[in-house]
């Protein structure tokens, strides 16, 4: 999809002023994140499982080429096919050719963030093939021509009423002319409309949560069952997965599954976890006759061996965004590309460039909640800090920021001058009054006070002055 990450600041202003979005985001605090806390508390082994999950992904990454080749060998042995796609364009071409080879007119799609990443829908439409999103959230936003705003709940930015309006608009030509007010009625209507599309689809396209090298299986985790209809009913099943999805064994999958659902939605287990291995077998009464796996790199291999490698452990649970105060205030669309929230702030500069997405890693308070809930313990604040350093090195920040930082670093290295200047600033700020404990506007600080108050220094002078007055002394070790 087309990135708007460079417009991050404008996107944020819009998001903050959108009342529907703010209503939807308010539910995050009591929804996924509270349920995650309860699920983690119910399982005494949860922290040990997180450690194990981290170690499994680290091991897989360190041996990635080996496990990918093993995976391929197993898929081929059971009559499946593996396609290697170094770039997004390669993946689009491979999938389009596969669809054309069976004369496909429609593709039933199960939610895939990698498909969003390579802008697959736009490409299929261009060549006359209709992609049908079947995950309820993806279906809703496909009708609205919007990108997803969350990696596991793509329509989390919408209220029930907005969904009701969207369905009324798009389903009334099909005879559904009543505006629905209950969630379960909305779900039932989408089920009815999509069922026929499943039965008619020529190709089913899914992502994969994991590729299991031991057995050559793709593993999919959903709640709706849409991925399973997608990989069962059409005559061809295409799996689109990026290279870092491969894990060694089924035992490893068991560990990862235990932390995935709990971290994502707070469920003990998702409703459907499915292991697909090759095409339909002799004697089977259903299932696709062709099974293809498209393995996408798209820049990931170059992250290996760098200080950013940890980001490749991500299992796409969404916990980091569910717990992020910035995501909670602005939602997913403001991030401007496929992956929002803290993991998006780390992945997006990698995948589409720090020039385009350099603002995203700046959108963090470094509160550390994302890292504290990440099931594979990705040090997200540390990785964001790394991008900030890159941005600084490459002179991508505004002049005022660079000069400000240069001045501060000079002062920090000259403590006497620093103290004298801060003492002076403290007295000057007092002239503007400190009754409220904050300033709504300040000379030279318009860039700050346009959006937020500037905190007033407490009475009694600077920290150093108070320290000296209270007889503080340095303890030497």
């Amino acid at each position: 999809m087309q990135s708007t990450a460079h417009d991050f600041k404008d996107n944020v202003s819009e998001a903050l002023a959108d009342p529907n979005l703010q209503d939807s985001l308010a539910m995050l605090k009591v929804g996924f994140s509270e349920r995650r806390r309860q699920a983690a508390a119910r399982l005494p082994e949860f922290e040990a499982l997180r450690d194990a999950a981290r170690d499994i992904k680290n091991h897989a990454l360190a041996n990635l080429d080996f496990y990918l080749e093993e995976f391929e060998r197993k898929v081929l042995a059971l009559g499946g096919h593996v396609h290697w796609a170094p770039t997004a364009e390669d993946a689009r071409r491979i999938i389009a050719d596969l669809c054309k080879s069976v004369g496909a007119r429609t593709v039933a799609k199960s939610k895939s963030m990698v498909a969003e990443e390579i802008a697959l829908n736009e490409h299929l439409e261009k060549i006359g093939i209709a992609p049908i999103e079947t995950d309820l959230g993806e279906y809703i936003i496909q009708l609205r021509h919007e990108p997803p705003s969350h990696i596991i709940a793509p329509a989390v930015h919408l209220t029930k009423d907005q969904v009701a309006d969207t369905f009324l608009e798009h389903h009334s030509p099909l005879g559904f002319t009543k505006r629905l007010t209950e969630r379960n009625d909305l779900v039932a209507e989408a089920r009815y409309v999509l069922r026929q599309k499943f039965l008619d689809a020529d190709v089913g396209l899914t992502g994969a949560n994991f590729l299991v090298a031991e057995t050559g299986s793709s593993m999919l985790v959903t709640n709706e069952g849409n991925a399973d209809l997608s990989n069962t009913l059409p005559k061809m099943h295409i799996v689109l997965a990026s290279i870092e999805k491969v894990i060694p064994t089924l035992e490893d999958a068991a560990i990862l599954l235990r932390v995935l659902a709990r971290s994502a939605t707070g469920q003990e287990s998702s409703a459907y976890t499915t292991l697909n291995t090759g095409p339909r077998r002799d004697g089977d009464l259903d299932g696709p006759s062709a099974y293809h796996v498209v393995i996408l790199d798209n820049g990931r291999s170059s992250v290996l061996g760098t200080e950013m490698q940890d980001m490749l452990r991500c299992i796409r649970c969404g916990a980091c965004m569910n717990h992020c105060p910035v995501y909670g205030a602005i939602g997913g669309h403001a991030y401007g590309w496929v992956y929002p929230g803290p993991i998006g702030a780390v992945l997006t500069p990698q995948l589409i460039g720090v020039e385009e997405a350099g603002n995203l890693p700046n959108a963090s308070t470094f509160c550390g909640r994302c890292e504290s809930v990440c099931p594979v313990r990705i040090p997200l604040p540390g990785l964001m800090r790394h991008w900030r350093e890159r941005e600084f090195e490459r002179h991508l920040q505004p002049k005022a920021v660079r000069q400000g930082l240069a001045l501060w670093s000079f002062l920090a290295r000259h403590p006497k001058l620093y103290r004298r200047l801060t003492g002076l600033a403290n007295r000057l700020l007092a002239l503007f009054g400190r009754a409220n404990g904050r300033y709504g506007s300040l000379p030279l600080a318009g860039g700050w006070t346009r959006y937020r108050d500037f905190p007033a220094p407490p009475p009694g002078g600077t920290f150093h002055q108070q320290w000296a007055r209270h007889g503080g002394s340095r303890i030497r070790p």
Binding site: L43, G137, A153, K160, R183, E214, A271, Y272, L285
Partner: protein, 224 residues
């Protein structure tokens, strides 16, 4: 090797500052695939069989399935009664499995059964199960001529017949059984794990049942 494959694999090796995986690392990775190490054990499901069955039932109900515990002789009666209790038609698509033929279906005169794959119009399906997972109340099915996957997905109501002996602690026990039954090089085309009926949290994060798969799951746990 295709050019694209070589590009990706060589890219990975370049980044990892090595050539093709070799020596002790390669042997370690091969050993891991040959005999997968176990992760941290989850204590709650490591129980004697009777308690394991009880835990399975408890979690299945927590996950919005309904559960009935009966003897083998009572299976057909329980299924017919479940359908009647819920105002469902007394007809169902049944997995063509010899395991299910052990039950005395003709004893239920009103019950009309069709053996075969699921169809879009089926309201009820009846299948067996490869295993049940006590840790989460999860049903495991393995596809094959005796178990079409569509039966798990298309009907509004899925009735699962699960033998107590097939209830195990966790996923790891299921993997061991799959390897034993099929061989690790020949997993069934599809292994489904089903934890309660289909659901979605996509509208306002509130879980609603019956998204695309069955709206209702009834598990008949059979004492042998």
């Amino acid at each position: 090797m295709s050019d694209a494959k070589a590009r990706i694999l060589n890219g990975i090796r370049r980044s990892l500052h090595r050539g093709e995986l070799a020596g002790a690392s390669r042997e370690a990775a091969k050993a891991r695939l040959a005999s997968p190490p176990q992760g941290p054990a989850v204590a709650r499901a490591r129980l004697p069989q009777a308690e394991k069955v009880a835990l399975f039932c408890q979690w299945a109900e927590t996950n919005n399935a309904t559960v009935a515990r009966v003897t083998a002789a009572d299976v057909p009666g329980e299924v017919a009664s479940f359908l009647a209790r819920n105002n469902l038609p007394a007809q169902a698509a049944v997995a063509p499995s010899p395991e299910l033929e052990r039950y005395d279906w003709p004893s239920q005169k009103m019950l009309s059964l069709r053996r075969g794959a699921g169809q879009g119009t089926d309201q009820v399906s009846i299948t067996g199960a490869f295993a049940g997972i006590a840790e989460t109340g999860t049903i495991v099915t393995a596809s094959g001529p005796d178990h079409p996957v569509t039966l798990n997905l298309l009907p509004d109501t899925h009735v699962v017949i699960l033998r107590e002996d097939d209830i195990v602690s966790g996923y790891e026990d299921v993997w061991a059984r799959l390897r034993q039954r099929y061989g690790k090089d020949r997993m069934p085309r599809t292994v489904n794990t089903l934890t309660g009926p289909s659901r979605t949290g996509d509208i306002e994060q509130a879980m609603e049942l019956g998204a695309h798969g069955p709206r209702r799951m009834h598990i008949v746990v059979v004492r042998e």
